[in-house]
Every structure is written in structure tokens, then in C-alpha cells.
């Protein structure tokens, strides 16, 4: 870590900063370097407390959750190792699909990092590949450190069990901790990490010494470090998937049942077709002749049908998974779809109206913000009463005024499509969100529209007034001004809010948990709520961790998709 400090690599910013101070310019190189080392040490000291906390409670949990998700057992820490068993229980054969494609994507990102490095080095005329050895060594170091932590964890988790009763003394703890730290199995990983650190440092030193002074001032080891870590992780994921798959193929062959390999291939092919059709669809928008646009759209449609046929294998797999979890994901999607578009539209309208020369805008802003700022337990409790199933509940009284019989609202587990078509009983997946979930969506919109309005107002404030003035001189009316100035220039804000809301709705827990009723039969349980229940009520730590990691994967995919979609549509400047 400190090797870079000692070898004297300087980033352009440090150089620029230091040359500004005339006191430093007079000093010798060693003096300046000593000052830099001292500043860096002080900075690490400043960062230490915050990073101890963020590291222990914000970063380490990801590794810890991954570790826990490979163990099973009720109220046991860490429980018995089961490989990907928890994932198989949750999403059944999709686990193999996820494992395989996860490994492929990790390797793809690794290759892309190297490709980008090559391009960047080429542009500057630097040599890139000589950084391979130090980069890989540092990558191996990180992987070895991760392995060390993973190997050490069970030993550390066992310490409290050996400290029960009279043995609960600081001396005993120190002894046990020492035993765990020096136990040979984890220690060899630490040794490997130390060795690769030394190798990396030596290799860096060699590269720095030998490089041409006129060229090659950049350090490219980062790309190789990243690539090594990613390939290592891909190896672990792939290996665990392979082990799990083998066990399962034997089991399914013994029972003479389904063919996992075929299923995986079919569904993967389906997704590849979907992706191809997406590319075709996109390319259609660049064509000018009607003929080629039509052909491309037709091709895309055909591919979608093909993909659909192949993906149709999916329901059989879903049926084998955890029905509760699948439903929770569906409910989360409903919640996301049912809250984000309405709250964005309402907020945009209110923000544009508020952004005029009118009196009382401060007043309106304060009021709109109230639902967002008020403690959610309080407001959720009111919504529970307003939308309760009693005939005398406020909403039911309003319905009664129009002669409509009372509804179950927050206690109604029936899907809304089922309620709208009383004669037909649709299956769960087709019936739409339950009425109880719709109430929670209403609550979500009510809470967040003020927040969105305030952010939109800030975005509107950033649009230069001159643009409107210029447009007005050119004779543009209010609608064209809105369509061609406000909307495009507001797109960064729109993008931020969409991303923020998508992540927010997928994380949402608190108000959904408070608005949960027994009578709704779990139809309002979104992913977070199911994870919480699995952990808190059922004490299935490993399974809850596996579900949480699946949720994280969904959030990552949505974030990437959102970024991709936004790339072309967001105007900056």
C-alpha cells in the first residue's frame, strides 16, 4: 500500500497543487516528499474512525451476507454449509442460470477493463502490459484477503460460545482471538496475501525503475487488479454453480425427471434472442426508409416470439421455487410500477405550476413536503384507519355516498382485476396487485410526491431564464416552451429521480411493514418484508441472506438498465 508513496509516483493533481505553494517550491525533493507522506498519514488518521464504522457495518456485510447465504439452519450462526442450496430453494433451477451468466458477465467486465486500459495507454503512448505482473499480484492479494476473512469468520463466530458463564473474561477472549488468528488454515491465506503484496510492490518498483521517462507516467495496474479480482470471483461463482448442478443432475436423473441442462440452454437462448431483438429494434430507429424500418421491426417481433416460446420453460421452474419469494418479487414490481410514474407526473405538474410568478409558493412547498417529512409510522397509522375495511371507514363512507358497497381496502387480499371482474376468477399472477397493495401504493405516492416536486423545482431553477426569453421572442407559446426547453433540460433531474425511486421502491420496507395486515394474507409483502420475516420471525439467517443477495442482484440489474436507457435520452447542458 505504502509502496506507491515511497516510489514517488505523482498524480498530476498533486503536482499542480504543490507547485502553487511558493514555500514548497524552494524545498528539496526529499522535504516535499516527507510533507506528502505526513499529509497522507494524517489523512488516513482522519479517515480511520469513519472507515472502521462504514467498513464494519456497510461494506463487510456484503461479504458476510454472501458467506451466510451458503449456510443453512434455524437460529444457527453460521449453520451448516450448503453451497448454493439456499438459492436453489428460493429460485430453483434459475440458480444455475444466474451462476453461469453471472460468471460470464464478471469475466466480460474484466476483459472490458483491460480493453479500456489498452485503449487509454495507446492514446498516451504508454506501455500497458508491463503492469500485468504488479496488477495481478495486487488482485491476488485482495482475493487472498477475502479468502482469509471467509476462513476466519467461522472461528471468530465460535468465540462467544466458548466464553459462556465464568469464562467470560477479557483474558479468555484475548486467548481465543489469538488462537483463531494464528490457526493455520486461515493463516495461510494471510501469508499468501502478504507474499503477493511483496511481489506486487517489487514488480511495481521494477516497472517504475525501468520505464521510459518520456513516456509512461500513468499506472495501469488498477485494470489488471480489477480483472484478476473479477476473474477470481467468476471462478468461485462458476465452481459453486458447477458443484450444485452436478449434485442436482444426479438427483434428478435418479428420480427420472427433468433435464436441467436443456432447461438452462433453452432459457439462456431465449434471453439472447430477446437481447438481439432489442438491438434490432434500436437499429430500426436510425433507418430512414420505411422498408428497412418495417423489416427490422418485423424481425424484432419474430425474435420476441421465439424468445417467448423458449422462456415459456420458465413457469415450470418458477413453480419449483419458493412461491412466497416469487410473489414478493412480483409485488415489488407492482409497487414500483404503481408508484413511480404517478408520483413523477403529479410532481412535474405541481412543480411547473409552482414555478410561476405566483404568491404563496413557499407555503405550497412547505405543505407538499409535509407527508414526506412526517414520521411514517404516524401517517401509516392514519392510512390504516382511513382505508380500513369497516363500512364506517372514511373511504368507504365516500363510496357509500355514491352508492357503492364498501370495499376491504387494506385488508383485501384479492387482486384488483379479480375485483373488477367479479364473475371470473383469475390466477394469482394475472390478477394484478391486491387492493391492499394498491392502498400501499397510494400511500407511497402521497408520501413521495412532495419530495419529487422539490427536486423538480430545483431542476427548473437551473434552467437559464434567457432560453425562455429567446423562445418567447421567436414566438414560441407556452406548450412548445415546455416541450422543447423545460422537458429536455429537466431530463437529468428526471433521470436522477427515476433511478432514486426505482432503488427506493425496491428497498422499501418501513411503511409497507407498518401497513401490513394479517387479513391481506401476505399479498402486500414485498421483497424486503419477506426477507425481514425470514430473518426475524423464522430465524433462517442463511436463507434470508440468500434472498437479500438476490434482491441486490435485481437492484443492480435495474440500475444498469436504467443507466443504459437514460444514456441516450438525458441532455446535460
Amino acid at each position: 500500500m505504502s509502496d506507491a508513496l515511497l516510489t514517488g509516483q505523482e498524480t498530476p493533481t498533486t503536482l499542480a497543487r504543490q507547485s502553487t505553494s511558493s514555500a514548497e517550491r524552494r524545498g528539496l525533493l526529499s522535504g516535499r516528499q516527507g510533507r506528502r507522506v505526513r499529509e497522507a498519514l494524517l489523512a488516513y488518521l482522519f479517515l480511520l474512525p469513519a472507515f472502521l464504522i462504514v467498513g464494519l457495518f456497510g461494506l463487510f456485510p456484503l461479504l458476510f451476507a454472501a458467506f451466510m447465504s451458503t449456510h443453512r439452519g434455524l437460529n444457527k450462526i453460521p449453520g451448516a454449509f450448503t453451497g448454493l442450496g439456499n438459492y436453489v430453494q428460493a429460485v430453483s433451477d434459475f440458480t444455475y442460470l444466474l451462476g453461469f451468466w453471472g460468471a460470464v458477465i464478471l469475466i466480460f467486465i474484466a476483459l472490458r477493463a483491460i480493453k479500456r486500459g489498452v485503449a487509454a495507454a495507446k492514446e498516451k503512448g504508454d506501455s500497458f502490459w508491463r503492469w500485468l505482473a504488479p496488477g495481478m499480484a495486487f488482485g491476488v492479494m485482495v482475493l487472498a484477503l477475502l479468502a482469509w476473512i471467509i476462513r476466519l469468520l467461522p472461528l471468530l463466530l465460535d468465540i462467544p460460545n466458548q466464553m459462556r458463564g465464568a469464562r467470560n473474561t477479557p483474558e479468555n477472549f484475548r486467548r481465543l482471538l489469538n488462537e483463531a488468528l494464528t490457526s493455520p488454515e486461515p493463516f495461510q491465506w494471510l501469508l499468501l496475501a502478504a507474499c503477493s503484496l511483496l511481489v506486487g510492490a517489487a514488480a511495481t518498483w521494477l516497472v517504475v525503475r525501468s520505464r521510459n521517462r518520456r513516456h509512461g507516467h500513468e499506472n495501469y495496474s488498477g485494470a489488471f487488479t480489477l480483472a484478476t479480482i473479477l476473474v477470481g470471483l467468476a471462478g468461485i461463482v462458476g465452481w459453486m454453480t458447477w458443484v450444485e448442478l452436478q449434485g442436482n443432475i444426479t438427483a434428478s436423473l435418479a428420480s427420472g425427471g427433468l433435464n436441467i441442462g436443456a432447461q438452462m440452454t433453452l432459457i439462456s437462448a431465449g434471453f439472447v434472442l430477446l437481447w438481439l431483438s432489442w438491438r434490432l429494434w434500436q437499429s430500426a430507429s436510425h433507418r430512414s426508409s420505411m422498408m428497412s424500418v418495417g423489416l427490422r421491426l418485423g424481425g424484432a417481433a419474430a425474435l420476441i416470439i421465439g424468445a417467448w416460446v423458449l422462456i415459456a420453460e420458465a413457469p415450470r421452474i418458477i413453480a419449483q421455487g419458493d412461491a412466497k419469494w416469487w410473489y414478493a418479487l412480483l409485488a415489488t414490481f407492482y409497487y414500483s410500477l404503481g408508484t413511480i410514474p404517478p408520483q413523477l407526473v403529479v410532481a412535474l405538474v405541481l412543480a411547473v405550476l409552482l414555478f410561476q410568478e405566483i404568491r404563496g409558493r413557499g407555503f405550497f412547498r412547505v405543505i407538499y413536503f409535509l407527508p414526506y417529512i412526517a414520521p411514517f409510522v404516524g401517517t401509516a397509522a392514519v392510512f390504516k384507519i382511513i382505508f380500513s375495511n369497516r363500512p364506517t371507514a372514511p373511504v368507504n363512507e365516500i363510496l357509500g355516498f355514491f352508492g357503492i358497497p364498501p370495499l376491504g381496502w387494506i385488508n383485501e387480499p384479492q387482486g384488483i382485476l379479480n375485483l373488477l371482474t367479479p364473475g371470473v376468477q383469475l390466477p394469482v399472477w394475472a390478477a394484478g396487485p391486491s387492493l391492499a397493495l394498491v392502498v400501499i401504493m397510494i400511500y407511497g405516492v402521497w408520501t413521495f410526491f412532495g419530495f419529487n416536486t422539490v427536486i423538480f423545482l430545483a431542476g427548473l431553477g437551473n434552467i437559464p431564464r434567457e432560453m425562455y426569453e429567446a423562445a418567447a421572442i421567436d414566438g414560441a407559446g407556452r406548450w412548445p416552451q415546455f416541450r422543447y426547453i423545460t422537458l429536455p433540460l429537466l431530463s437529468p433531474t428526471m433521470y436522477f429521480l427515476t433511478l432514486y425511486s426505482v432503488i427506493g421502491t425496491f428497498k422499501a420496507f418501513n411503511h409497507i411493514y407498518v401497513l401490513r395486515t394479517g387479513a391481506a394474507l401476505g399479498t402486500t409483502d414485498t421483497a424486503s418484508v419477506v426477507i425481514f420475516q425470514t430473518f426475524q420471525r423464522d430465524t433462517r439467517y442463511g436463507y434470508a441472506s440468500a434472498l437479500a443477495i438476490l434482491l441486490l442482484l435485481v437492484i443492480i440489474v435495474l440500475t444498469v438498465a436504467n443507466n443504459r436507457l437514460a444514456e441516450k435520452r438525458v441532455h446535460y447542458g
Binding site: P49, A50, L457, S528
Partner: protein, 301 residues
């Protein structure tokens, strides 16, 4: 001085100062349609609150019979709710938790934010991206690991963590959001100040304490507010780490009371008003800081 500095943030917030120049003509009439929509929005936002207050003043038959307004205000509902839900203890707990969390947060986040904003060290970008990466993690993924970590620390350490203040405060004493917010603010402070402070012989720590912190009162105030709200609103984590009422915060206390009070809606709503009151009062007094802080950072504690 602090007021003259530009606000930090993702979206540069001139939220409070976006007022357009007044033209003197009464425009209220021209804007009748606008006002109608705006009033409708305000009504939707405010009616649930009015209904809460209304029900909280009803008697049992009115509350359960679907009345809209109380015939005669029953102020003693508040006393009943306060005593039945044991609000004295929960209020005190929430205040203690918020105070400890915010105190730790200010010290740790200020130091870290200063290092990121003003100092040069190896691995700065890497550490900063690691920090920001924690923002992506859903709360659900940290429940199990952090619960185990906290129990472990309590069982091997000198003081218990579960059912005690460390579990409720320590994990929140440093957050990526707070560090990011403060860093943005620190970076706006002109570089000349640092140069002249250096000539006067001030080191980083003295510069931070004597110059940066006094200049950043507004940002620190935002941090205090968000810390307070965050501590007041926490629900999932307190449910996991408090099995006894000793350190249970007000949100969890009220959540449990909703179940206990059952169909006594008037008491539920009185409790709801009691739970919300401190935050809403605080909001009305500091709404500018609040709204600007949220507009700049896009977060709620």
C-alpha cells in the same frame, strides 16, 4: 459568511431563492386554474393530518362510528395515549439515541469529509468509490450480518450491544451520505483560505476546526437535522436489536402500541400525533434548511 457560499450538491439548489421578480400587478386572477390545482394538491397532502388530529380528539364511539369531527374535544386522549404507550420512556430513548448518534456522526464524518475534500493521499478515489458503493446496498442485505456482528461484539466486549445504546447508535455514526454532503460543502470553500492559513502556520486539524467548521455551520445543521429524523424514524433495526423496552425508540414503541390499542382509534391517533409532533414542529421551524438539504442531497435520514 456561510450564507454567501454557494450550496453544494447534485442539483445546485436555488430552491429557496428561485423567486421570480414581482411585477406588482395582481396575478391571482390570471392564475385561477393554477391555484385550483395547487390547492387540490395541498388538500390531498394535508387532509390525512387534519383527520388524524380530528380522530385523536374524539371519544370511543365517535372514533369507531366513522364521525368526521369530534362533538367535544377529548383532550384527555393524549394523556391516556401517553401513559398507555409509555411514551415518556420512548421519547427519552429516542432523544438519547439521536444525541449519541449525531454527536458521533459529526466528529467522524467531519474528519473523513475533510480528508476527502482537502487532502492528498494514495487510494483516495478508491476509498471514495468504496464509500459511495455502500449507498447501493439495500437495508435488507445488512440486517443479518450486522445483527450477528452486533451480537458478537456485545458478547465478547465489555458492554452488551443488544438492548443497549451501542447497537442502536454506533452503526449509524458514519454514513456515506453525510460524508458526501460535508465533502461537497468543504470543497466549495475557496482555496485561498487554505493558502493563507498555511502561511500563518496552521496545520490541517487547526484549519478544519478554526475555519472550515465555522464556515460550514449550515451543512452541519443539515446533518444534525437528518441525524435526528433518521434516529426518530428507525424501525426495522430497532425491532431487530431491542427485545426489551429499555432502549426502544419511539417509532417502535408506537408501532407496538398500534397493536395493543386495537380498535381504540382515538388513542391510536393521539399516539400518532404525539409521535409526529416533534418532527413536524422541528420541520416548521427549520423548513428552509430541511428542504434545501434534501434538495441538494436527495435523502432522508
Amino acid at each position: 459568511m456561510a450564507d454567501t457560499l454557494p450550496r453544494p450538491g447534485v442539483v445546485t439548489a436555488n430552491v429557496a431563492t428561485d423567486r421570480a421578480p414581482r411585477t406588482g400587478r395582481p396575478r391571482a386572477l390570471r392564475h385561477a386554474g393554477t391555484y385550483l390545482v395547487l390547492m387540490l394538491g395541498a388538500g390531498v397532502a394535508i387532509v390525512p393530518f387534519l383527520y388524524t388530529v380530528s380522530v385523536s380528539l374524539m371519544n370511543l364511539t365517535e372514533a369507531n362510528g366513522g364521525a368526521w369531527l369530534p362533538s367535544s374535544p377529548q383532550w384527555k386522549n393524549y394523556i391516556d395515549a401517553w401513559n398507555q404507550a409509555n411514551f415518556s420512556l420512548y421519547f427519552w430513548n429516542s432523544i438519547r439515541i439521536a444525541a449519541i448518534t449525531v454527536a458521533g456522526e459529526i466528529v467522524f464524518c467531519t474528519l473523513a469529509a475533510y480528508a476527502f475534500a482537502r487532502m492528498e493521499f494514495w487510494g483516495k478515489n478508491l476509498l471514495f468509490s468504496l464509500l459511495l458503493a455502500t449507498l447501493m446496498l439495500p437495508e435488507a442485505i445488512i440486517w443479518v450480518p450486522n445483527f450477528i456482528t452486533v451480537s458478537w461484539l456485545g458478547r465478547v466486549g465489555p458492554i452488551p450491544w443488544i438492548n443497549n445504546w451501542p447497537a442502536l447508535t454506533v452503526p449509524f455514526m458514519a454514513s456515506a451520505f453525510s460524508i458526501f454532503l460535508l465533502r461537497q460543502f468543504f470543497m466549495q470553500v475557496p482555496n485561498d483560505l487554505w493558502d493563507s492559513a498555511q502561511i500563518d502556520g496552521a496545520g490541517h486539524l487547526r484549519y478544519l476546526i478554526k475555519i472550515m467548521i465555522p464556515l460550514s455551520k449550515a451543512a452541519l445543521m443539515t446533518l444534525v437535522l437528518f441525524g435526528f429524523i433518521g434516529a426518530w424514524n428507525a424501525l426495522a433495526w430497532p425491532i431487530l436489536v431491542t427485545t426489551t423496552p429499555d432502549w426502544r425508540p419511539v417509532t417502535y414503541g408506537f408501532f407496538a402500541f398500534i397493536d395493543e390499542a386495537g380498535a381504540q382509534f382515538h388513542l391510536q391517533m393521539a399516539g400518532s400525533v404525539i409521535t409526529m409532533a416533534p418532527v413536524i414542529v422541528l420541520y416548521f421551524f427549520t423548513q428552509r434548511t430541511f428542504i434545501e438539504g434534501i434538495a441538494t442531497s436527495g435523502l432522508k435520514g
